[in-house]
């Protein structure tokens, strides 16, 4: 893993969910909120305050940026956000970290024979 990514890991749950939402395509704030609920089977919900606070932080850190393209005729109040290349690298590194955690957990929680 690159040293540049280390200060960003591990990602907070809200940041992880937001980056996962944006991994596929650019989304607006409300779309991110709905997608987070879907991703987590309704177990994790973001309020608008939490969402935009995290988005602002992720944009400051250069992981997310405002998308240049938006659907024609869309509500002008909506802003679309997308992952940057750096954001994708951070997300991939965190997913890899989580995979290691799950692998380790499975080993340790294996029922003893």
């Amino acid at each position: 893993m690159s040293d540049d990514l280390k200060p960003f890991l591990p990602l907070a749950p809200a940041a992880l969910h937001i980056l996962l939402c944006l991994a596929g395509e650019p989304r607006h704030g409300y779309g991110i909120m709905q997608d987070v609920v879907e991703q987590s089977n309704g177990q994790y919900k973001l309020g608008p305050g939490t969402l935009y606070d995290n988005l602002q932080k992720l944009m400051d850190q250069g992981l997310v940026e405002e998308a240049r393209k938006r659907p024609a005729g869309d509500d002008p109040r909506r802003r679309y956000y997308e992952l940057t290349g750096f954001g994708r690298s951070v997300l991939e590194a965190d997913v890899e970290r989580l995979q290691n955690v799950v692998r380790e957990a499975k080993l340790r929680l294996k029922p003893s024979t």
């Binding site: 540049d4 200060p7 960003f8 607006h28 704030g29 409300y30 909120m33 919900k45 309020g47 608008p48 305050g49 939490t50 935009y52 606070d53 988005l55 602002q56 400051d60 850190q61 250069g62 509500d75 109040r77 909506r78 802003r79």
Partner: protein, 142 residues
């Protein structure tokens, strides 16, 4: 009524955050008011307000300075105003002793110096961050 309160909450956010996100937050409020409940959205708005001012704008430094000053005044005040005994006799409290009151004033000036210093540091920090929006990012990466 709840929408009015939410709008007021949004207005109280720092200008930069409000300018960027308030319109969309209000739009989401209108979309989700029925499904999420307006009270939950209001609570989220209050938490967001506190987070923006205290964490993102660094107001916690001012709060910490004020709390420190109050604590210091409380502790020193109690120490100075405690009745003292000397050779079994209760001495008059410092409130009645002009020389001790002078000491209290000297110690109080320490509180003022600490408050002014912390305020200056806080203001400098806010100005620095406003003038250098990438400062935070650089600090995280470094």
């Amino acid at each position: 009524m709840m929408r009015f309160l939410y709008v007021q909450l949004l207005r109280m956010h720092p200008a930069t955050f409000r300018g960027k996100y308030a319109a969309e937050m209000l739009w989401i409020y209108e979309e989700t008011e029925r499904s999420e409940g307006s009270f939950a959205l209001l609570v989220d708005g209050v938490v967001s307000l506190l987070r923006q001012w205290f964490l993102r704008w660094g107001l916690w430094r001012f709060a910490a300075a004020a709390a420190g000053a109050v604590l210091q005044a409380e502790v020193f005040g109690r120490l100075w105003f405690l009745p003292r005994t000397h050779a079994g006799k209760v001495m008059p409290s410092v409130a009645n002793a002009p020389i001790d009151m002078a000491h209290l004033v000297v110690y109080s000036s320490g509180i003022v110096v600490v408050l002014v210093g912390m305020t200056a540091l806080g203001v400098w920090n806010l100005r620095f961050r406003r003038l250098n929006p990438r400062a935070r990012r650089r600090r995280v990466v470094a």
